[in-house]
């Protein structure tokens, strides 16, 4: 995949090997597979619940992009922070948040991860360093750079992982943030999830420079293009980027080439692309099948084991859906709470 370094902009070079991290063992590979499958099944069920009217408002599914959340999570350390936009269900699940509390947030229940006050686009888990879940395209890039500023201020060795899409990549504040991040050598990894379409507008129709990994070049931020449908390629690139940021060299930019199978949101008729285009990606680049084939090829897992895992995940998702359907809504008294932090000055 192509990459651009601080000194050599627009240099394309093939990368192979993984000098930064040990090759993942069988258990790790299985864990990645399991995590991606959980996201896929969870999102499929979320789509169903939306159709049933149990989930309201906007709902953006992560189906097709699973390898990014899972592969990048594998490159993170405890204490690192994550922040992203509104397509965040998968990121929460990859970070280990329980399917029940994510699904219950989607249905607006008190047991939801944000007590039902945030919904699909605004989920947070402070304990896991998950800072949202932001509904304004591009805002998370400045906020995430601020998390990195705090890391730098405290010199605590943490890295902020900031995700955004190809659409957000055209927002001005992204570049304001790039400038300060490099200027102050902030420990931040920027991950562009380039799923080719900002709502209905393709990258080609929206971007004068379509190689988004080059977007940091004028700030001297190194960038590389990564196959975002390959969880191991994602993990490797993530480790490289994290090592760069953690060592005090400043920000690093990864462009993940990926694809979303579903519409931008549940209300997107998808007239801007063909069914054939989607089927082609599913058939040839699907991140889950890709890893499954590899596991089978290496004899890491037999069909029975895969089937057992599928069944277990199906069960977990069904449990989450049932929980989210039946759990109580927030108490009316919650309406006026948590507007301000109540603390004595």
């Amino acid at each position: 995949m192509a990459r651009v370094s601080a000194s050599k902009t627009a240099t394309a070079a093939r990368r192979s090997g993984s000098e930064e991290g040990p090759v993942p063992d069988r258990e790790q590979l299985l864990a990645y597979y399991r995590s991606m499958l959980l996201i896929r099944r969870f999102e499929e069920r979320a789509g169903q619940l939306y159709g049933m009217g149990l989930i309201g408002g906007f709902c953006h599914l992560y189906i097709g992009q699973e390898a990014i959340a899972v592969g990048m999570h594998a490159a993170q350390r405890a204490g690192d922070q994550v922040i992203t936009g509104y397509r965040e269900h998968g990121h929460m699940l990859a970070a280990g948040v329980s399917p029940r509390s994510v699904m219950a947030e989607l249905t607006g229940r008190a047991a939801g991860v944000a007590k039902g006050k945030g919904g699909s686009m605004h989920m947070f888990d402070a304990e896991r360093g998950f800072y949202g879940g932001h509904g304004i395209v591009g805002a998370q890039v400045s906020l995430g750079t601020g998390l990195a500023l705090a890391n730098r201020y405290r010199n605590d060795g943490k890295v902020a992982f900031v995700y955004f899409g190809d659409g957000a990549a055209n927002q001005g504040q992204v570049y304001e943030s790039f400038n300060m991040a490099e200027l102050w050598r902030l420990p931040v990894v920027y991950v562009i999830e380039n799923n080719q379409y900002a709502m209905g507008t393709s990258v080609e129709r929206s971007s004068s420079e379509t190689h988004l990994f080059r977007r940091g070049a004028s700030f001297n931020i190194p960038g590389e293009e990564v196959d975002g449908m390959d969880v191991l390629a994602v993990r490797e690139a993530g480790l490289r980027a994290a090592a760069h940021a953690r060592s005090g060299k400043g920000p690093y930019l990864l462009e993940m080439k990926t694809y979303r199978y579903r519409g931008h949101s549940m209300s997107d008729p998808g007239k801007y692309r063909t069914r054939e285009e989607i089927d082609e990606v599913r058939k040839t680049r699907d991140p889950i099948e890709h890893l499954q084939e590899r596991l089978a090829r290496e004899g890491a897992v037999d069909e029975a084991a895969t089937r057992a895992m599928d069944a277990e995940i199906k069960e977990a998702v069904a449990d989450a859906a049932e929980f989210a359907r039946t759990a109580p809504e927030p108490d009316a008294s919650e309406l006026m709470t948590e507007i301000y932090v109540e603390a004595a000055v």
């Binding site: 304004i136 805002a139 890039v141 998390l147 705090a150 948590e338």
Partner: protein, 448 residues
Amino acid sequence: MTDILMPALSPTMEEGKLAKWLVKVGDKVRSGDVIAEIETDKATMEVEAADEGIVEAILAPEGAEGVKVNSVIARLQGGGAQPAATAPAEGAVQVAIAATAAASSPATPPPASLAAETPSGPTVRLSVRDSLRDAMAEEMRRDPSVFLMGEEVAQYQGAYKVSRGLLEEFGPARVIDTPITEHGFAGLGVGAAMAGLKPIVEFMTFNFAMQAIDQIINSAAKTHYMSGGQISCPIVFRGPNGAAARVAAQHSQDYAAWYAHVPGLKVVAPYDGADAKGLLKSAIRDPNPVVFLEHEMLYGHEFDVPASDEWLVPLGSARIHRQGADVTLVAYSRMVGVALAAADLLAAQGIEAEVIDLRTLRPLDHGTVVASVVKTHRLVTVEEGWGPMGVGAEVAARVVADAFDFLDAPPERVSQADTPLPYAANLEALALPTAESVVAAALKACYR
């Protein structure tokens, strides 16, 4: 013969110190020669001659303080008849500089505050500018997670010199010069606050904060609620707000009503130095996002300020600046000075006005206003911003709701004219509330 006049070196400058003469009587000067150095409360600046001639007399001696803008400081023999001195274009603000401030917006001298509301204990005479600086310095000494970021806050010592000396004391890690990138650095500040630091984000003026208003409202104000209480945002956004002098529409706007509209934000707009200091310290300690609206025209005004490091004014409490039984004047920020001046004029007509400084606009200390109207039966609100959907509208609506039976007249609102603020001196003066317009509104409320 040509008079050299004391130049205005910033839009709000009213007087300055003649720090140094670089010419003496008998010297020949040409236009462009630096002839003197003048110290304002913001900076020391060089003055160039605009005409040729021989220095005939120096009328403001070296070291003279309080030299009024447009007073004659020297005289040249020969040359043209035009006023001579102009300032080099190095104003401390991003606006057109060297406006001749003398004609417009005569400063309202700060009337004496009501003794009952003034702090006990030893005080020092301080400008509002230095009161704000001291508040930040004390809080930064007290809490290592407090830091300041913004344009020109460090090496330049602050565009309005509010952060003077902070870089020297706290170093570049805690006093951070940002690029001109409001949207970006406001977002960084909010992110750092979410991570547990306590940033003070300075906007050179709140006019530029419109570039960042999405981060202030959508990110800072709403995240605590949206996260079900998991994430908080202890941040202060501060800087000058409202009309300066002759900087026209894009640099003259009062944002109090904009921010006070938003749940999740606290909004503060102090008038005098003691409040500026005590409220800013409280704002920095507050665990919520606080929009702290200062006023450029007040930066240079001096007040008695408590010397204590623990002088805190709680957010959400109004202050009665002057007691009176006949009409209640409600104001905030610089308009408190206008209301106090109006109260003096009304007193001369036998009307005793009670002047309330709201100090905090969200949460609003409604109780103090209602209690006053219950006593006076008449309400006049004064704000520098536009009237429609404004602070006065909110105060009046709440008074009507809670003290309807006590009102003897409909509430009166005094505000900026419903127009972008004009540049021309006469039009600008017409657009902004004055003591006279407040008096007129009060007389109307009193059926006089």
